[in-house]
C-alpha cells in the first residue's frame, strides 16, 4: 500500500531534480492531444508511456503536457515535441511502442523519428 510518507520522499527527490534543471535553460516539451478524438484513438496509454519512459530514463529536462483537438482527428493520437531553438516535430498515429522509440531516438539521442511524423504520411 502506497503511503503519504513515500510521497514526501518523492517530493524531496523531485525538488533536487528541479534545482538541477534550473541550471539548464533547455527544456523540451512533449504535448499530447487529449480531446475526444485523441482519447478515443488511444492517447492516454501514449501519454502514460511518455511519462514512464521519461521517469525511467531520468530525463530531467523534459516536460509532458496535454492539449485539445488540433483538427487532424484522423491522425490521432498526435504528439508534438518542441526542443528549445528547434522547429516543432509533430508525430501522428502514435501508440505506446512508438512513444518508447520517440523517447529513445528523439529525446535521448536527438534524432527525430521521421517515419512517424506528419510529413511522412502518404498523401
Amino acid at each position: 500500500m502506497k503511503s503519504l510518507e513515500e510521497l514526501m520522499a518523492l517530493r524531496d527527490a523531485a525538488k533536487a531534480k528541479m534545482t538541477a534543471r534550473e541550471d539548464s535553460t533547455a527544456v523540451t516539451r512533449v504535448v499530447v492531444g487529449m480531446a475526444t478524438c485523441g482519447i478515443a484513438a488511444g492517447a492516454r496509454p501514449v501519454m502514460n508511456r511518455f511519462s514512464e519512459e521519461i521517469e525511467k530514463r531520468n530525463l530531467t529536462n523534459v516536460t509532458v503536457a496535454q492539449t485539445g483537438c488540433i483538427g487532424m482527428c484522423q491522425y490521432e493520437p498526435i504528439v508534438e515535441v518542441t526542443e528549445p531553438g528547434k522547429e516543432k516535430v509533430t508525430y501522428v498515429l502514435m501508440n505506446p511502442e512508438k512513444a518508447t522509440k520517440v523517447v529513445v531516438d528523439h529525446l535521448v539521442n536527438g534524432n527525430p523519428v521521421v517515419e512517424y511524423t506528419v510529413g511522412a504520411l502518404k498523401k
Binding site: M1, L10, R11, A13, T36, N48, E55
Partner: protein, 182 residues
C-alpha cells in the same frame, strides 16, 4: 470508448474548459443491486437551459458551442446502452453536475476501467484546479483530494512523472482495498 474512465476523462475536460476551480468525480457502486453511478460536478461557468439541451444532442451542438462536442453524447450512449440514463443539471455562474447511471449486469455494460489514471491525468495537467475523487463501493468510501497532495508537495509540480506514478498507485491501492473488504 473502450472503458468508462476514458469517458470521464473526456467529459471532465468540459469542466476544465468551463473554468472550474473545483471538480469532483464521484463513483458509487452497489454490487448487490448491480448499479453504478458516475458523477462529475464542477463550479465552472455553467450553462443555460438551452445549452444543456444542446449538449445532449451532438448534431445540434457542434456549430454553436465548440467546447462541447461528442463527449457528453458518447457518455450518455454508454449509460443508455445498459438501460441507464444521464442527467445534467446546470446553473449559469454556479456550475454543472453530470450524473450517469449504469446497470452493471447488462451485457452492453462497458467496464469502468482505470479511474486512477484518469484522475491523475486530470489533476497533473490542471495544477490550478482542485480535484476531489470519491469512490464508494457498497457503503465503503475512499476520498482523494488534490488539496492534500498539494499541501505535501509544496512547489513541486504534480505533473512530475514520479509524482504522477505515485498518485496512480496510491489511488489504485485504495480502490483495490475497497473491493477486497467484502
Amino acid at each position: 470508448m473502450r472503458e468508462l474512465s476514458l469517458n470521464v476523462l473526456d467529459v471532465a475536460q468540459n469542466s476544465v474548459s468551463a473554468n472550474a476551480s473545483e471538480i469532483e468525480i464521484e463513483i458509487c457502486e452497489d454490487t448487490a443491486a448491480h448499479t453504478l453511478m458516475i458523477g462529475i460536478y464542477d463550479n465552472g461557468k455553467g450553462m443555460t437551459p438551452e445549452q444543456v439541451q444542446s449538449v445532449r444532442d451532438p448534431f445540434f451542438t457542434t456549430r454553436t458551442t465548440r467546447k462541447v462536442g461528442l463527449g457528453v453524447p458518447l457518455f450518455k450512449m454508454a449509460a443508455e446502452m445498459t438501460g441507464g440514463s444521464l442527467e445534467i443539471e446546470s446553473t449559469v455562474g454556479v456550475g454543472t453536475n453530470v450524473r450517469a447511471f449504469f446497470h452493471t449486469d447488462h451485457v452492453d455494460f462497458v467496464p469502468l476501467g482505470d479511474m486512477a489514471n484518469t484522475v491523475v491525468m486530470l489533476a497533473a495537467m490542471n495544477e490550478h484546479i482542485r480535484f476531489l475523487y470519491r469512490h464508494a463501493i457498497d457503503g465503503r468510501e475512499f476520498l482523494f483530494d488534490t488539496a492534500q497532495i498539494k499541501e505535501i508537495l509544496g512547489d513541486v509540480p504534480m505533473n512530475d512523472p514520479s509524482i504522477m506514478q505515485w498518485m496512480a498507485g496510491y489511488i489504485k491501492d485504495n480502490i483495490q482495498e475497497l473491493t477486497e473488504v467484502q
